[in-house]
């Protein structure tokens, strides 16, 4: 039915990622590598938030909370056994011998975030629009407060540090591919269609037999899983997690990427995540040379507002651009009406 173009694109993406990550890890310096890794993590975050916010239309501000849950879980699971008694003397007994390698730890982190999302979903998914936004923001703040106060496990405001630097460009690239692939598959499937339908008109979708709660909760959970994984990658990239890192500001930043890219468009989220991460870094030399710190943020905000004025649906709208999807083979070129 549909064109093979997406499959080629996926193949190209994987090939590009392999070549790119191998190439850059050999040639670039740490700074470039860090930016590339953060770009990748931002792609994961934006694409996965797009499932929640873009496909299902749930205006969630809680993405960093899921990141924090995934990040802390992964960090505790991979924490070096020698350092544990020194850094975390009050750790509950049962947690002391628990140790996992990086990959399973990431999965556990993601799954735990997804599990929490299920529970949160049960309580807040009845809310709509801005009310949901406030409730998820509340969830984020509650998670922050709990992390801040659960000293024995999280070391409070200081956070967990001294994590192994597991995350590198290859890890991130791998997860970027997995995220994009999964979200793409969801979008172009029965599940994704029902999410989009729920976003467009929940009552009509419901009348067509779409289970609103299941669909919304599923969208939240998928988003949370990848946010959790991204949190794990994030923590092992900067080797520390603290409650303050997973803030409302971060939530705003991810939402900006989703909106600028086009709510619902995976290609858009990827592009916007790349542009935003790089743009912020690009302003650094300017700020440093002239001592005008904060100018980068001002310019980016201005550009953001201009984009919203002149292209309110974002760069790609809800859809995916033609160069990725290809033309529908069956479509007879009709220009009727």
């Amino acid at each position: 039915m549909e064109s093979n173009r997406p499959r080629y694109c996926l193949g190209l993406l994987i090939m590009f990622m392999v070549v790119f990550s191998l190439g850059i890890e050999r040639t670039a310096n740490d700074y470039i590598l860090a930016i590339v890794s953060f770009t990748g993590i931002n792609i994961i975050l934006a694409v996965s938030l797009n499932v929640t916010n873009g496909f299902a239309g749930l205006f969630s501000l809680g993405h960093p909370a899921f990141m924090a849950i995934g990040g802390y879980t992964t960090a505790l699971l991979t924490f070096s056994m020698e350092k544990k008694p020194l850094f975390l003397p009050d750790l509950p007994q049962w947690l002391i011998p628990v140790h996992l390698p990086f990959f399973p730890a990431l999965l556990v982190g993601g799954c735990f975030a997804a599990l929490v999302a299920q529970i949160v979903g049960i309580s807040v998914l009845r809310l709509k629009g801005h009310y949901l936004a406030v409730a998820t923001m509340g969830f984020l703040i509650i998670v922050q407060v709990l992390l801040n106060n659960a000293n024995s496990i999280t070391r409070g405001p200081l956070g967990l540090n001294g994590l192994e630097e597991f995350t590198n460009v290859s890890w991130v690239a791998g997860w970027v591919v997995v995220t994009i692939y999964t979200c793409w598959k969801i979008k172009f499937s029965s599940l994704g269609r029902s999410m989009l339908a729920v976003k467009e008109d929940s009552m009509a979708a419901n009348s067509l037999g779409v289970d609103l709660f299941y669909t919304r909760n599923f969208a939240l959970t998928v988003g949370a899983f990848f946010a959790g994984v991204a949190g794990g990658l994030w923590g092992h990239l900067i080797t520390a997690v603290t409650p303050g890192s997973f803030s409302l500001i971060m939530s705003f930043n991810i939402i900006v990427m989703v909106v600028v890219g086009g709510t619902g468009s995976i290609t858009g989220s990827v592009t916007a995540a790349i542009i935003f991460t790089l743009a912020i870094e690009c302003f650094r030399p300017l700020e440093e040379n002239f001592g005008i710190y904060g100018v980068g943020e001002i310019v980016i905000s201005l550009v953001l507002i201009l984009i919203l004025i002149f292209k309110p649906s974002g760069m790609f709208g809800t859809g995916e651009p033609k160069f990725v999807t290809g033309k529908y083979k069956q479509l007879s070129p009709t220009n009727g009406k």
């Binding site: 860090a34 900067i238 520390a240 650094r284 440093e288 943020e297």
Partner: protein
């Protein structure tokens, strides 16, 4: 639009790459401070202090037969991610040392990266005493540890102010303030004082009426209240306590070392406040007077808080170590820094003689009476 972005992006990306590395002429030092976001009110003065030090050193002919210091400053944006990226940026720029940060939460993601490369990192403001242990032999602290400043003010409040019952207010959102309270509590209990009330608030709080009402109702009434906060809440707590008719002494650590405790409540109400801090405020030593004069001349305002001289000292300390080592390689610098003995910094003499490598420095006890700052005594750590 997109193309435009990418073009601009590539242009700026290429800037740091394109700058050719001059043949080791200037000595590059990296500075990591949060110049935007919540920490900026604390970190910006530090950077200004550091820049002042660099300017003075370069004006006097630089180091090692005329090599200039080049201070590369990166904004950590009150964000750990930016702190880590910033550290990597500095390291890939070939700095021989890094300075910065006034809070351990930001030292922790950036300093280990320096440690890994064997490049020394001098934190100008983070006072967590376990930092050198957590990061390694490349981390050096300019300030004293929180244990010292807490012990100092505890000793003073017990012995000189005669405080037998004390209330403790802690900003529970920061590690610095929690640590400060922990050590104060420890010392006061050792001395035999009683903690009659422990209360908490969060950074960014503006209204302390609930805490004040509780303080008024506690029995027995405390002889003093210890407020562990950063400068942003120092003036507010003082003002609100005094306005509510509480005249008991307020004691604190270097978070209270700010003009705000006088300007916010006004001179009348800024009374009976005591805090321990870096020995520079109201201190007659020549290096302090010189620093304040230079700072005022450069920026038109007196140093905003104690973090300004600390930033200045971080550079001065490195410069001293480079001069002593006669070389500007990271390895030599690290060894030379570790051997620092009796370096006369603005904020007190620095010697790394302790096994913990937290400097043994004098701690000033400052009193504020009707808006006037006075040095009450200089406290020295007794142990080790």
């Amino acid at each position: 639009m997109k193309k435009c972005f990418i073009t601009i992006g590539l242009f700026f990306m290429s800037l740091p790459l394109a700058t050719p590395c001059f043949s080791a002429e200037p000595i590059k030092i990296g500075a990591l401070y949060s110049l935007t976001g919540g920490m900026s009110s604390i970190d910006t003065p530090s950077l200004r202090g550091a820049e002042l030090a660099v300017k003075i050193i370069n004006k006097n002919g630089g180091l090692l037969d005329g090599r200039m210091i080049e201070l590369i400053s990166v904004d950590a944006k009150t964000d750990q991610k930016a702190a880590a990226i910033g550290a990597k940026k500095l390291l890939s720029n070939g700095v021989i040392a890094g300075i910065g940060h006034s809070d351990p939460s930001f030292v922790l993601p950036s300093a280990p990266l320096f440690q890994k490369k064997g490049i020394p990192f001098v934190t100008s403001g983070a006072t967590l005493p376990t930092l050198p242990m957590m990061i390694g032999d490349c981390l050096f602290m300019v300030p004293f540890g929180d244990d010292d400043q807490s012990f100092a003010i505890a000793d003073y409040s017990f012995k000189s102010l005669g405080v037998k019952n004390v209330a403790i207010w802690t900003d529970n959102s920061m590690d610095f303030t929690k640590t400060l309270s922990k050590f104060y509590k420890q010392r006061m209990t050792e001395l035999g004082a009683k903690i009659v009330l422990e209360d908490f608030f969060m950074m960014g709080d503006k209204d302390f009426s609930a805490q004040i009402a509780r303080l008024k109702n506690v029995s027995p009434q405390p002889d003093a209240v210890f407020i562990s906060s950063i400068p942003n809440e120092a003036g507010l707590t003082t003002k609100q306590l005094r306005e509510n008719g509480l005249t008991l002494p307020i004691v604190s650590g270097d978070g209270f070392d700010t003009e705000l405790i006088v300007t916010v409540p006004g001179k009348e109400l800024a009374n009976d406040v005591y805090f321990s801090t870096h020995t520079y405020r109201a201190d007659p030593r020549p290096e302090v007077i010189q620093f304040i004069a230079d700072y005022e001349k450069e920026y038109g305002v007196p140093p905003e808080n104690a973090f300004a001289p600390l930033g200045y000292d971080a550079i001065a300390l490195i410069a001293d170590a480079i001069t002593r080592a006669g070389s500007a390689t990271p390895k030599a610098l690290k060894e030379s820094l570790a051997k620092t003995m009796g370096f006369k910094a603005v904020t007190g003499e620095i010697s790394y003689t302790r096994p913990s490598r937290v400097p043994v420095k004098g701690v000033s006890i400052i009193s504020v009476k009707k808006g006037e700052y006075n040095v009450e005594e200089i406290w020295f750590p007794t142990t080790k």
